[in-house]
């Protein structure tokens, strides 16, 4: 059977609920992982998801900032919402999805953006981002009690040269500086993770999941970055049937600056 998992930094789930609904209707993913929900748990639009057939929702949100949620057609158990860097924000949620044939563990992440200045000595937000990455080393591709494990979300780093519109121009721009790209790749490899977007789409090919709101014409200038990721335990690699980066979503009415990424797996149990 095919199981599909989507990840999307939605930049306010309440403001963009109609967009989420139309996305779910068109793409019917089995699981949707949202980031930047900007929504306290008691104000999360649960019913809207239930009405659309997503009966299982785990969320970890706060007022105004950050926030992640994992939404599923299949039974879901929250394992943990870890407080990275111990500052009480809401950037991680670890759940297990019980698909009919396999238990799939999913880490849903929203990594700090890191501010403007890529120097941890003078920019505490960048320091926070690097500290967060170091702490992410503890999240490995070990499924624990599940069969397989995914790590998805907005990692706010575009690791490869082809993950940005201009490698040269972005080398000193937060999200593509060597300390970030190298650390992220090291965290990934050391944790035993496979970069599934790059398994499906060859590293030679440019691919982006985010375009700044500030650009006049995001589509023409196309100055994007691949900030959103789908990592998997190596056993999932042969089961991956395809990845869709839904570029068109950036052109929707009142869009998020990120687009959904959908991964489809043939899970044969």
């Amino acid at each position: 059977m095919t199981v599909s998992v989507a990840t999307w930094n939605i930049n306010s789930v309440r403001l963009r609920l109609p967009l989420v609904q139309s996305f779910l209707e068109s793409w019917q993913p089995d699981v949707l992982c949202l980031q930047e929900t900007k929504c306290p748990n008691d104000q999360f639009p649960l019913k809207a998801f239930h009405r659309m057939g997503y009966e299982h929702v785990e969320m970890h949100g706060q007022k105004g900032y950050h926030g992640v949620a994992t939404i599923s057609r299949f039974p879901l158990e929250a394992v943990e919402a870890r407080d990275f860097c111990g500052i009480g924000d809401t950037r991680h949620l670890d759940c297990v999805v019980r698909t009919p044939r396999r238990a799939l563990r999913i880490h849903n992440f929203y990594v700090p953006a890191g501010g403007d200045e890529p120097d941890p000595e003078i920019n505490p937000k960048f320091r926070h981002k690097l500290d967060f990455l170091e702490e992410m080393r503890t999240i490995t591709a070990d499924p624990g009690g599940a069969d397989s494990v995914l790590l998805v979300g907005d990692l706010n780093i575009a690791p490869l040269e082809t993950d940005v519109w201009s490698h040269k121009q972005l080398l000193k721009v937060v999200s593509h500086t060597p300390v970030e790209t190298e650390t992220l790749e090291d965290v990934r490899r050391a944790g035993g993770w496979s970069d599934l977007i790059r398994v499906a789409i060859p590293p030679e090919e440019k691919i982006y999941t985010w375009w700044s709101y500030r650009a006049r014409d995001w589509d023409v200038s196309d100055r994007g970055r691949r900030l959103d990721h789908v990592w998997g335990s190596p056993d999932l690699e042969p089961m991956l049937s395809d990845i869709t980066v839904l570029r068109e979503a950036r052109g929707w009415e009142k869009p998020s600056d990120h687009v959904p990424v959908i991964a489809r797996f043939r899970l044969d149990g």
Copy 2:
């Protein structure tokens, strides 16, 4: 010939430009007086009005608050934007409209709302409103160099018992307290003004131009007030053909809390 003049507290002209456009398209008034444009002069959507055949626009606005504009198919001259109470806000604009047969002077007013507490001793906003009314005495129905004169706008007072949904319940509510209603009626009569809405619609009949945003269902509960006015020099009375209070506009998508009032005159020269 018939000349029509509309007045509308638009509560942000930029936010509600589509509503203004659809109103102009349907009703084709010759002159439109707006209040609460909330728009600095250099950001006023001039071109949109030009495109709709309103080539003559005078505005007096500021950032964020207040602001009035007079928009016309016929040539327009600004006479004065008076600084009532000397605090530099933008609540008045005096223009002359050159209709083919008559010069029509129009005072466009946005009177201070006055805050919650109807006591000038403890509420400086109410003090300001009363001071403003006193200063309005200097604006009389004298056409000056023009043939006739109008005073239109949001006067933030409902003078008659039939200008509110409940006279009794509003006697202590700012907009319908005796000091306000009596002062306004005195300013009007002493200035030689005719209350043209009440010339067209008998004082026995309830008529409102404003419904609070706070009410759940403005149409059913119908707790409105007549805060917007069209006053004229007495010579205009026999020329008044009708007044329309466009109640339906309160039900439009993302409406202003005020509706347009349109006065039609047979100006025979």
